[in-house]
């Protein structure tokens, strides 16, 4: 896995998109949490809420416990917990913290103009 795990080529991008089974506007998110700490729990609640409200039907959220997947978090260069990684649409972005700053999350997800 490369350092940023970004999408390197058009082919790769399309492959990922078709795998997801949707066209434009599809969001692929990964939430890395450290067990069930208060921060992690809040982050999970917050992102679920945001997704349901703004991305209903066009998102995929994968939750990864870094305690269980230390190798995966190494590849993704995860050092802070919780970390939300927006894999699609590009550009790749990382949100650290409990995602309670909804404004920032929305701007970062390009769901709201800066």
């Amino acid at each position: 896995m490369s350092d940023d795990d970004g999408i390197e080529s058009v082919e790769e991008f399309e492959a990922v998109v078709s795998e997801v089974g949707a066209g434009e506007g599809m969001y692929v998110l990964r939430l890395y949490m450290a067990g069930l700490t208060p921060n992690s729990r809040r982050a999970l609640e917050n992102i679920k809420e945001i997704c349901e409200k703004y991305l209903a039907g066009r998102y995929e959220l994968e939750v990864i416990d870094i305690y269980q997947e230390p190798v995966l978090s190494r590849g993704e260069q995860i050092i802070a917990a919780p970390t939300l990684v927006k894999q699609l649409p590009p550009p790749l972005r990382k949100f650290i913290g409990d995602l309670s700053d909804t404004e920032r999350v929305l701007v970062g997800l390009d769901l709201k103009a800066r």
């Binding site: 450290a34 870094i66 305690y67 230390p70 260069q77 650290i96």
Partner: protein
């Protein structure tokens, strides 16, 4: 802490063993170390100045500006841990990738690939790009802890190096969280009982730029790289080492082909054995002048005089005699090439070539200006450790005055002498006295350190330059007090048996 100490108790034995290496006689043993277990670094000289190594199961902060050798020192600590003490290590690199690290330390002869394959070492590159991060609320650095914990468990690490943790401040938006997390990380590392080296950039007002020293209270070592008169010297100082005595000076160190070498200056003690065996000077009549038997084995001899008085010839005769006794000899030539030296000595009937061919004599010729004084010193040490000679000639010791000031050269020569004595090596230094100066001045002011001082001079009389030789001093033996005539011809060196005045020599 009891837990940690008990765990590390096995480290004591290996620490003590290590003290016997290299600078055997040179150990300055700081007293009152009962409270602290030390983890030997295996780095030449560093274990001496720290009195046995870094605090085991604790954290040592390594501070310095860019390019001062922090990363290499941290890496050597891990590599030696694996190769010399069987302690696996984890290297967390915030600045360099694994590939860059491998390449950089390959120059020191460390084969990281091999160590990693064998499972002795794990390198983890943590990359932090601030532009990637969006801070959206409370967070902690549990991800880093997990990665570190995973790496430690993977190789059962006893040693950890973190280079350099300050990158977190630049990479993450919330300094308050980073600070509290670093504090937590250090506590966590101590609880795991690993011996840890953390590097940090030197700050302008504080020891480190981000005040890491607040969190590391066990041991702080500062590295420095200075250029004086175009000669660069690296230096190391132990700023603090809680719970133990330590050397407080600045110690020069070099990064050489085989890793880092630290030179403890003041740790030498005057407690070498005094040998009673005598060795020939290589000139029969000079032996006679020295009570009939020559120099003491393990003593230090100075041959001084103005240009062209036969100093190098006396050095060659001495080396020649040693080889004839089937001993090994090392000749450091700072003015002539080996070929030139061999040719010139053959002209006075001293055939050194045969000893070079038989492998008993090694001639090492270097321009003194090639590198700094410390590098010369370390180089000489390496040659000596490598070749294990019984006899050494340094021709001339005065060359070093072009490299440093009076104090530095004197310090260097005294360190060399101590080293030779600790190994029972008989050493002969030649010393050029400038024509205008008093004959009994030695440029480096080292005569008081010498056991035997032979003075050569030229006297002009009756339209002729005549060589003279005399013994200024020779500790612990009866010696001639007369000035003798001294001739060099193709038959060798001849010294008049009787003093020119016709009186008996003593």
């Amino acid at each position: 802490m009891e837990f940690t100490l008990a765990l590390r108790a096995c480290g004591i034995a290996s620490g003590a063993e290590n003290l016997g290496k290299g600078w055997a006689m040179a150990i300055e043993t700081p007293g009152g170390d009962q409270g602290i277990t030390k983890s030997p670094t295996g780095i030449t000289g560093l274990d001496q100045v720290t009195g046995g190594g870094l605090p085991a199961g604790r954290i040592t902060l390594l501070v310095g500006g860019p390019g001062c050798g922090k990363t290499l020192l941290a890496m050597e600590f891990l590599v030696r841990g694996v190769t010399d003490y069987g302690e696996p290590g984890v290297f967390i690199a915030f600045e360099e990738t694994e590939q860059e690290l491998r390449e950089n330390v390959a120059t020191l002869g460390f084969d990281l690939d091999h160590l990693i394959e064998e499972g002795g070492m794990h390198i983890d590159h943590v990359s932090i790009d601030r532009s990637e991060f969006e801070e959206t609320g409370e967070f902690d650095l549990e991800g880093l802890f997990i990665r570190l914990g995973y790496a430690i468990d993977k190789v059962s690490a006893r040693r950890v190096a973190i280079d350099t943790i300050e990158t977190l401040f630049a990479g993450l938006p919330n300094e308050a969280i980073v600070r509290s997390e670093i504090r937590r990380l250090f506590r966590w590392l101590r609880d795991r009982g690993v011996t840890c080296v953390v590097t940090g950039e030197r700050g302008s007002t504080t020891i480190t730029r981000y005040g890491l020293e607040e969190y590391v209270s066990d041991c702080v070592i500062a590295l420095d790289h200075r250029v004086t008169e175009q000669v660069s010297t690296r230096r190391m100082r132990i700023v603090k080492y809680r719970g133990t005595g330590h050397g407080t000076n600045e110690y020069p160190f070099i990064i050489g082909g085989r890793g880092i070498s630290v030179l403890p200056i003041t740790s030498m003690k005057l407690e070498h054995e005094a040998l009673t065996e005598r060795v020939s000077t290589g000139v029969g009549q000079l032996d006679t002048m020295l009570g009939g038997e020559g120099y003491f084995r393990g003593s230090t001899v100075l041959v001084s005089g103005t240009a062209g008085t036969g100093k190098t010839s006396l050095a060659a005769a001495f080396v020649n005699a040693a080889c004839a006794r089937a001993e090994r000899a090392l000749f450091f030539a700072f003015e002539e090439s080996p070929a030139q030296l061999l040719r010139n000595m053959l002209s006075i009937g001293i055939d050194l070539q045969q000893w070079v061919d038989s492998g008993q004599l090694r001639v090492i010729a270097n321009r003194p200006q090639t590198y700094g004084i410390e590098t010369h010193l370390v180089d000489m040490h390496r040659e000596i450790d490598d070749f294990q000679p019984r006899v050494i000639a340094i021709d001339p010791a005065t060359s070093f005055t072009s490299l440093g000031d009076f104090f530095q050269v004197t310090a260097m020569v005294s360190r060399l002498i101590d080293y030779f004595k600790s190994k029972g090596i008989t050493a002969l230094f030649t010393n050029l006295t400038p024509g205008a100066a008093a004959v009994e001045t030695t440029e480096a002011g080292v005569s008081s350190l010498m056991d035997t001082w032979v003075l050569t001079a030229v006297e002009e009389s009756n339209g002729e330059r005549k060589r003279k030789i005399s013994i200024v001093k020779s500790r612990g033996m009866e010696h001639s007090n007369r000035i003798h005539d001294f001739l060099m011809s193709e038959r060798g060196i001849l010294i008049s048996e009787r003093a020119p005045s016709g009186e008996e020599t003593r």
